[in-house]
Amino acid sequence: MAGAAHPEAMAPRKKGPTRTAPPMMPSSWWSAPRIRIYLLFGATGLVYLLAGFLILRLAWALGSNPMAWQSAFDGLSNPLYVIFHLILLVSVLGVGIRAFVRMMPKMQPRGGPLPVLPPAVVRGAICGLWAGITLFMVLVLSGAIF
């Protein structure tokens, strides 16, 4: 099931004297579980894009008048919205785990003035921040504080 890669992939600037066969994609491209997770990670982009516009709509209603806010807000209990928000929750958790646990601890700048911390420390700090902000948002939005 190996598909073709871009015909110019890894082509030299100056073509050599012999004819070459065009580059192929790895035949494991679709079947490898790692790749599937990577593609799902990218696909959360659509969920985030929709979420951004949904929140824009809520904010716009909040700025209009109490009636508009109430109808937009009550609309969220429509099962379709609930399903979307479930997908959004799964996306957010998946993106968070991949970004905060796997990716960002690797991105510490090196050779600069800052010390390079062990990845576990960075991971802990970022995940702690994530949990803290989430707790804060939950308490504020559910009316427990402020």
Binding site: M10, A11, P12, A21, M25, S31, R102, M107, G111
Partner: protein, 255 residues
């Protein structure tokens, strides 16, 4: 883990540019010995079954980086990959994402272009008089162990090109500089002796932009030397952005 002698079926991609329109697959029965690597089986085909088979290999100890091939669809250093990891049937193909020259041999000149584009050598703003003074006493450009450890991991690359075969961005964006070359450029950017980061960051933001990397992390998954190119590429993005922001604030050529 070795189970003694057994015969395996080896499916190998064959392509003769003078005869074949497109690459085809040939099957070979290979009697194997315990402890054999995939490279041993491919060598057996060349030595005993079909001397016209072309493939690259040299050191047999994961140092020279020339025996990279796709083994069951994944880029592997065949001298380091045991036959025990696979069943009775193994598919060996030339490295993905590269033009195929012949059989298992791929065209690597495209990589050499990218390799050179990141200026993989120590750049000094200017050769200073003090660089040349007391040369014998302290070496040319002295460096502490801490300064060495900042980049040492990225200097372990053997240019085996497995990362290029695994990368979905390399497959789809011909201009992309790619994992190994960016890691090499980043290796010099993080070297305390080097002063050429601004030049390389310009390359990193150019045509083959490092920002094309979508962090599939496949390069680091397949790297046989634990260079972790994905972390180098993403640290390089950070460096390139910081440099770009500095360029907005300071006039060109400043600091």
């Amino acid at each position: 883990m070795s189970e003694g002698k057994k015969t395996i079926k080896l499916e190998i991609t064959r392509f003769d540019p003078d005869v074949d329109e497109v690459p085809k697959t040939e099957e070979y029965e290979v009697p194997t010995e315990p402890g054999w690597k995939v490279l041993d089986a491919v060598n057996y085909v060349k030595d005993h079954l079909d001397p016209s088979l072309s493939h690259r290999w040299s050191c047999r100890m994961a140092v020279c980086g020339s025996c990279g091939m796709m083994v069951n669809g994944e880029p592997k250093l065949t001298c380091k990959t045991s036959l025990d990891e696979y069943g009775d049937s193994i598919k060996v193909e030339p490295l993905a994402n590269f033009p195929i020259v012949r059989d298992l041999v791929v065209e690597i000149d495209g990589f050499m272009d990218k390799f050179k584009s990141v200026k993989p050598w120590i750049i000094r703003a200017k050769e200073r008089a003090e660089d040349m003074e007391n040369l014998n006493e302290r070496g040319t450009y002295s460096q502490s162990p801490d300064e060495l450890s900042a980049f040492k991991q990225f200097s372990m690359c053997i240019n085996c090109l497995l990362c290029y075969s695994a990368c979905p961005v390399v497959a789809n964006e011909p201009e992309f500089i790619g994992p190994a070359a960016i890691a090499l450029g980043h290796r010099y950017n993080t070297d305390s002796r080097d002063e050429g980061a601004a030049e390389r960051n310009e390359v990193f933001r150019g045509e083959g932009t490092v920002f094309s990397c979508s962090f599939a992390n496949e390069c680091s998954e397949v790297c046989p030397k634990n260079v972790d190119p994905a972390s180098a590429v993403n640290q390089a993005k950070l460096g390139a952005v910081v440099d770009w922001a500095k360029g907005l604030i300071l006039p060109r050529g400043g600091a």
